[in-house]
Assembly symmetry: C3
Homo-oligomer: 271 residues x 3
């Protein structure tokens, strides 16, 4: 599998997939720059008046819940249905689901209306997305008694989607196979938007392959490895500002060789 | 007082207060990153549908007038009232008040509906916020005949809130005591959002102490000292882009020792 | 002409023109920082409730189509008409026009209601803005059979505005005279917002001179030369993150001398 993933870096830079993203106003600029850095072409419009036409040009669609409101939810539904009818991949980032009833309710509504090929969140968000199925074992992601790999596999079966659970250990599962990635750096949690950017990267990779599982692994591992590269050689007076700049640097440099050398796919489980 | 302020840096990084910010779309990403850099946990949602639930989880609320519209003002009122009823601190950043009648009117309306524990603005904004009381002495902040310290003290009494007037000299006052901080660098005026970020920092500190006065001094002085640190050792070809990166670096590095060594609290006045 | 342009750098830093920008939520922070870097004073409010009052304070108005919706279009119309009645320059950035019927339709509507002194876009956007006049020669900007200079001159006559076509070669035309600028770096296409920032710079320069043609050349060439300066001395591990920081650095450093040394105005055509 590693080789088929590694080849995606060249592919995404050759084909420059158009990645339509209806996302939040906090990290929208970061998501656009991350998409450009990996080789994709971002378009971030969210007006219900034109998302149908824009999705018709796109190679992938990313829906991000960071700052949902009635207008963006309307746009997400129109865009999601259009993408489904065109058979282009739709990626969900359920930011903050569980934090308020509004988010949880709206995410559940959207899951019924739109088919998602990949969903990426942290353990808490994915837990909440699958309701009471596993959540009874713990509320905060730190207290979970199940691993990200177990959670991803369960959620993949329940939601019929490829699930990416990101954290200190990232897990990708389609319910049958689960890949665990042991890369990353703690500084990734001290910069806003690293999760959103990871989802944007997944979106870019799904735009150039039918193997969405490989695309999901490529996207999340690119972010985690880039976190490691960005943290290397930080000088005494550097902090999270410099780290953030180097994170985009690393994404823009990422290629087959850097990825093969850096990735730690520590287990691959057949469920 | 210096020691009780200096201890806040460790506290904010230990407790990671949730700082709910209803802010503008220009500097929202900077505010989130500044909050993370000092150790807080930012959440920036502004949908009237969920701000009540989100504030219920928060340790502090920041309301920023940068790009107000009907929807964000509705959210600010709901969030502000909820925060007041929960007795968590509410911080106001009256960006641009005085520039248009709309801003001045809406700020005055909000002041009647929501109780603010801290208000931070530049001299011009604070002048306008207190109407004709002092404003007759001059219109532009450059022409003011009263010092930031005098303005802060007067405004604190009139608005019954801790007032932070930021500028070349920063002043914090509760109407009885006034603290003057003589830190900063001119480059802070050449990067957008440094005022907004200072308010976000104040918000983070108020989330970990009941001494909002100390929190206000900690927040505004952190920004001013960080401006000094960011300007140190700039190379020949560096400009405001590099300065901005180093500003976040400095906030993320700020701690008891750096603050004690750097802060210049030049006077403390008992009114 | 070169000298009258070169003198604008000092002028813009002395006068600090207030540049009101109704722009998109993706690159709004970059536009504000670029405006500050060149010496202007940005204000980005887009509420229909206050844009009339804000424009009344402004020295120039920039309208950017990046993420248009009904509300921002309403604000643009109010602001544009107010600016026209005050005789301050109005600059249009028709981002993405042609990508969806909505954008093309709304741009055409706005062109009828507001008089624009300068319009800046890439070749594809400017082609679409002038409808079928030239667009029949090719659809994608890469396939165009006419040069940016020819396109700018034609569009200037058709739209009765100064037209800036940016690309590998930038062209500025008023229909009678056309200036071609051969500066830039390919990395400018790998960072979001470089076009929007160029338009913001043009806006700042128009705020300090009646010679909008010179202002347009100053703005677009500042971005292209800054791209060259930002790409200089990039180290092995640097990428688009560092390039973006240095781009703002370069804009903030740009002055008469740097510009005179760097600019390549390769032809000046009298049509």
């Amino acid at each position: 599998m590693k080789l088929s993933i590694a080849d995606l870096f060249e592919k995404v830079r050759e084909r420059k997939p158009l990645v339509h993203q209806i996302t939040n106003f906090v990290t929208v600029n970061d998501c656009a720059n991350a998409t450009l850095a990996i080789g994709g072409s971002p378009v971030m419009t969210s007006s219900p008046k034109e998302v149908k036409d824009m999705v018709s040009l796109a190679d992938a669609l990313v829906l991000n819940f960071g700052t949902i409101d009635e207008r963006s939810l309307e746009a997400m539904e129109i865009a999601g249905r259009t993408a489904n009818s065109r058979n282009i991949p739709v990626i969900l980032d359920p930011v903050g689901v569980g934090a308020t009833p509004y988010r949880t309710e709206k995410a559940n509504e959207l899951l019924k209306k739109v088919s998602f090929q990949v969903i990426r969140g942290n353990a808490s968000e994915i837990q909440r997305l699958i309701g009471g199925e596993i959540v009874t074992r713990g509320v905060d992601s730190e207290e979970l008694e199940i691993s990200n790999a177990e959670l991803a596999a369960s959620a993949a079966n329940l939601l019929d989607s490829i699930i990416v659970v990101s954290g200190a250990i990232d897990a990708v599962s389609n319910g049958k196979h689960t890949t665990v990635i042991d890369n990353g750096n703690i500084l990734l949690t001290n910069v806003t938007g690293t999760g959103c950017m990871a989802t944007a990267l997944i979106g870019a990779f799904t735009g150039v392959t039918d193997d969405y599982y490989a695309a999901a692994v490529a996207g999340i591992s690119t972010m985690s490895i880039s976190g490691e590269l960005a943290a290397e050689n930080l000088q005494q007076n550097d902090g999270t500002g410099t780290f953030r700049v180097r994170l985009i640097d690393a994404i823009s440099r990422m290629n087959k060789e850097l990825w093969m050398n850096g990735v730690k796919i520590s287990e691959e489980i057949a469920n």
